[in-house]
Amino acid sequence: MNSKEWLFLSIVTFLTVMTWTVYDVYHAAITSTLTPYQQTLLKPLDPAFDSNVLDRIEQKEQ
């Protein structure tokens, strides 16, 4: 192998490693670390209580 081929090989190796590193780092940055159990805990809870329904039932014949 002559010098130019060595240079080409080193650049390709460098670029491959850089791409691999960037991909892994991006993946680590965007992947959620929450467990499925924690995700179920995060489901929102609506505290609104429609008391109009009770009022309407109350007005009906017993």
Binding site: S3, T13, F14, T21, L42, K60
Partner: protein, 198 residues
Amino acid sequence: MPEDARDISTLFEKKEVKAYSMAVFSFFAFAFFSVFAIRPTLMSFFHLQRQIEDSRELDQRLTDKINSLLRAQESYQMNQQRLALLDESIPQDPQFPNLVRKMEGIVTNEAATMTSFTTDNFSLLEENYLKKDEGLATVSFTLSVTGDYVRGESVLRRLANIRRIIMFESVKFDNSSNPLTNEVELSIDGRTYFFSHE
């Protein structure tokens, strides 16, 4: 100095070889350190940063949920006395005899006559007869009442206005049996609900 070593040192003295070899070693060195040092460090850094963000979000959303639960508990306590009304609308078991008694009471109260009452899928003698999957279950029924039109309409209005939820699938007024009188036969196909649980 041996001849080979002298050849290598002469080779590296060449400007072109010197430049190429520096570049090649730099790229290889950078790739090597990327794999064994830079990549793991950056991954740990971003992973931990993500973990901190997720933990903050989890904390915030759990705090919101606790506040929601407190508000829900407050609403529940405020309406606790009236929650029995929900059981009256959709009871935990069929409570069909109560419903029939109620219907009969309304019909009698309106001076009409209940001529027939049938259910498709329910036995009044065996309440456990109707065991279904957990959730909202229905009981279908057909009710026939005779009386004049105004009383029939009144029965219908009152049935629609009782606390136990009744859905009318069809309502029919028919006076073909006694066309010369003002007596009509009111037929109601309906269904009512209860919460079935194992």
